[in-house]
């Protein structure tokens, strides 16, 4: 009986050690995921800045006026072609 208990305690110790390592490994894996997510967020913040600037550039009166004229010219061309 004593040896049985000693064996069980040893098995418990091994199980605890394996469990601890598994939890730590799981923890590290989760931290890897968090790291990836963190970097993804950082990347997207940079992308947001870039897109925000691009959109701001395309909303200036000069750009909008140029875009409108281009659209009008295209429409005029289309109508002329339709008439011919």
């Amino acid at each position: 009986m004593r040896w049985m208990l000693a064996g069980l305690l040893f098995a418990l110790a091994v199980a605890l050690a394996i469990g601890t390592v598994a939890i730590r490994a799981g923890n590290a894996a989760l931290r890897h995921d968090v790291e990836r997510t963190y970097r993804d967020i950082q990347d997207r913040m940079g992308e947001l800045e870039r897109l925000g600037l691009e959109r701001a550039e395309t909303a200036t009166p000069e750009y909008l006026a140029a875009a409108m004229w281009a659209q009008l010219r295209a429409e005029q061309q289309r109508r002329l072609e339709r008439l011919q």
Binding site: Q42, G46, E49
Partner: protein, 680 residues
């Protein structure tokens, strides 16, 4: 259990039990016998504490802070740092591919293709195929140099000692998400490639063409960190508002992370403090700045494309809010500039002789000083008794008018812009009063805007030389000062002088409304301070004369501009815009050309004429003999800009667009780059 079995089991369990006993003993030896530290050769002892164990795997990455953001008075971004990546890769040739030259070359080619494919992952890229070819060739050359492929034999095994690991810079200023993800994917897919993304910033100036001189630009150079020999790349402002110290980036922040057995980083925590850029709230109104640039450029280049008109050498257009002295817009134009970044910022750096534009300033000063009777009539005809008595008696000095003038009151002298009449008034002032006149209006004094390389100008060096006899001063300097000669100013100085005419000697220009430092708002103090002011009736009389300058009176110098605007816009400017024209001919030295005759056309206008709120100064300088007058050439862009001020204000009120509040603080337009999140 037999005795032998029992012994074996005991021995096995005894051995197993010895393991923790050994570990406990070792721990005791390290923690007690070694007294908490390990001696290391050539290095400091290693302290045996928990942090030491953590530090074996802990790393920190330095995250640089961005330069400050510059916004206009309504929160629109003028300059901002955008996050980018500087990408490096450590390439290690896998053992299998490193056996033969052929397989190593093939591997390098594959990796180059992978990187080239990643670099063209931007979905908005126009010429993808061509760009891909260029990138692939560039990477092949780069990796070939790094692995010294030229030194390899044509075939056979890779020689011993030949480099199999290389650290290469893949690209800088990577800010497109799809490219970043594609590059990261290479590192995840290929165990032989270790990617490093270093955070950097790219300075972005929206509306770049409109803000070159005023907002300025930056340069990135290697600099030595003070107190150390460490050299690092630093971005600094070269001109304009970018040179302000408040925009310098703060010290880098650090972020801890851990590295696993494969060298892969994993998360410990975010940045200790998210880097927050300072925000400089300028007084510039971006829409008016665009309009100023457009008006000045249009006027300067008008007719030049057809070859019928010569273009000026340079031009400047300045717009100021009169109640605060806030600089709303300042446009600069150059004929010979190869690039706007290399050109002088004319509103503060280009000097010119102002000409008749100073006459209201002289008359206001003389009236305040009690040296001028506004109801007095002067005979401004050349050769008249008045002329002989006041000017002819001084000697050989001859003063002429552009058109014949007869008997005029001071009001009439200003409307007709009579040089003879102005000389009569100027000769009433003493030398000390002329000196005080220069100080009152700030001619020759810096603007205090902290814009670099400002020109001061002022009267000629010998004008106030005490050794010059009074009679000589009166004959030369006093007469010349009366109609804006023998002195040099910048357009911005002229704007400040008129601001002082209306608001007193304490009025100054301002270009900064406040700063957000670490998210905390610091309002800039009002520009200027206390100082003497002209009596309201003095300002009123001069203003009334300026109103009549822009009228249908054929003798008024603003007559041509009045007619032109009436025809163009249907607006009768008389009583709407008040102003003064100026035309001056000077000889200046130009490198490589010697002394050259130049003509300066200038105009100062205030709007609305009855209760001025905005003030504009326009100057254009030509270096040829073309006909060129302030009223017809410099006035139209200034007047159009003044009218635009009101149009813009009405539109903003109608659409309830964001505008600055009383203390000058505005929110950086939400969602825009540089949004500090203030006020949310």
């Amino acid at each position: 259990m037999k005795a032998g079995e029992r012994i074996r089991v005991r021995a096995a369990f005894g051995l197993l039990g010895a393991v923790p006993a050994f570990l406990a003993g070792w721990l005791g030896y390290l923690q007690v016998a070694q007294a908490g530290q390990l001696e290391r050769e050539g290095r400091a002892p290693l302290r045996l504490v928990a942090e030491t164990a953590d530090q074996q795997a802990w790393r920190t990455e330095a995250v640089p802070c961005p330069r400050g953001t510059i916004v206009d008075r309504n929160g629109s971004v003028l300059a901002v740092d955008c996050q980018t990546y500087d990408v490096r890769a450590v390439l290690a040739v896998p053992a299998r591919e490193g056996r033969s030259v052929q397989s190593m070359r093939a591997w390098i080619g594959d990796v180059a293709t992978d990187f080239a494919r990643a670099m063209v992952a931007d979905p908005d890229l126009a010429d993808r195929a061509e760009s891909f070819q260029q990138h692939r060739e560039a990477f092949r050359r780069l990796f070939g140099d790094a692995f010294r492929t030229d030194d390899l034999p044509a075939d056979g095994p890779v020689p011993d000692g030949h480099p199999r690991v290389a650290d290469v810079r893949i690209a800088g200023e990577i800010d497109v998400l799809s490219v970043v993800e594609a590059l990261r994917e290479i590192g995840a897919r290929r165990s032989s490639v270790s990617m490093h993304f270093l955070r950097t910033f790219r300075r972005v100036h929206p509306d770049r063409d409109a803000t070159y001189g005023l907002v300025g630009h930056v340069a990135t150079d290697w600099t030595v960190v003070p107190g150390t020999n460490e050299r690092r790349l630093a971005t600094r402002g070269v001109c304009g508002l970018e040179t302000w110290a408040a925009l310098a980036p703060a010290e880098p922040e650090s972020r801890p992370f851990l590295k696993d057995g494969r060298g892969q980083p994993y998360f410990v925590g975010p940045l200790h403090a998210q880097p927050v850029a300072n925000v400089l709230h300028s007084t510039i109104d971006l829409e008016l700045q665009r309009e100023a640039v457009r008006q000045l450029t249009t006027q300067a280049e008008a007719g030049a494309r057809e070859g019928s008109v010569t273009v000026p050498k340079w031009g400047a257009l300045v717009l100021v809010e009169m109640a605060t002295g806030d600089l709303l817009a300042a446009a600069s134009w150059h004929r010979d500039a190869r690039h706007p970044a290399n050109a002088a910022f004319t509103p503060t750096q280009s000097l010119y002789e102002p000409g008749s534009i100073v006459k209201p300033l002289v008359f206001a000063y003389a009236l305040e000083a009690g040296r001028l009777d506004w109801s007095h009539e002067f005979d401004c005809a050349p050769g008249s008794a008045d002329y002989r008595e006041r000017i002819g008696s001084l000697g050989s000095r001859v003063v002429r008018d552009d058109h014949h003038c007869s008997v005029l009151t001071p009001h009439g002298i200003l409307v007709n812009s009579s040089n003879i009449g102005a000389s009569y008034v100027g000769l009433q002032l003493e030398r000390e009063q002329w000196h005080d006149y220069m100080q009152f209006y700030g001619f020759g004094a810096p603007l205090g805007l902290r814009l670099p390389n400002e020109s001061r100008g002022g009267p000629n060096a010998q004008s106030f030389d005490p050794s010059i006899p009074l009679r000589s001063f009166r004959r030369n300097s006093a007469i010349s000062f009366s109609f804006g000669y023998e002195m040099q100013v910048t357009a911005m100085q002229m704007a400040r002088a008129y601001l002082r005419l209306f608001r007193g000697a304490g009025a100054d220009l301002r270009v900064c409304r406040g700063l957000e430092i670490g998210g905390e708002w610091h309002a800039a103090p009002p520009a200027g301070g206390p100082g003497p002011k002209f009596r309201p009736d003095v300002v009123e009389l001069v203003r009334e004369a300026m109103v009549d300058v822009v009228s249908a009176d054929p003798h008024a110098t603003g007559f041509h501009m009045h007619g032109r605007m009436l025809k163009e816009t249907g607006i009768d400017l008389h009583g709407v815009v008040a102003g003064k024209t100026g035309t001056a001919a000077s000889r200046i030295g130009i490198p490589g050309r010697g002394k050259v005759e130049v003509r300066n056309a200038s105009f100062v206008g205030v709007f609305p004429a009855e209760a001025p709120r905005w003030l504009a100064v326009c100057v254009l300088q030509k270096d040829d003999s073309a006909r060129f007058y302030g009223g017809s050439y410099a006035a139209p862009p200034a007047v159009r800009l003044l009218l635009q001020c009101e149009n813009l204000e009405r539109r903003r009120q109608r659409h309830k667009e964001p505008q600055h509040d009383a203390n000058g603080q505005v929110r950086v337009v939400q969602g825009s780059p540089g949004d500090s999140g203030w006020g949310r």
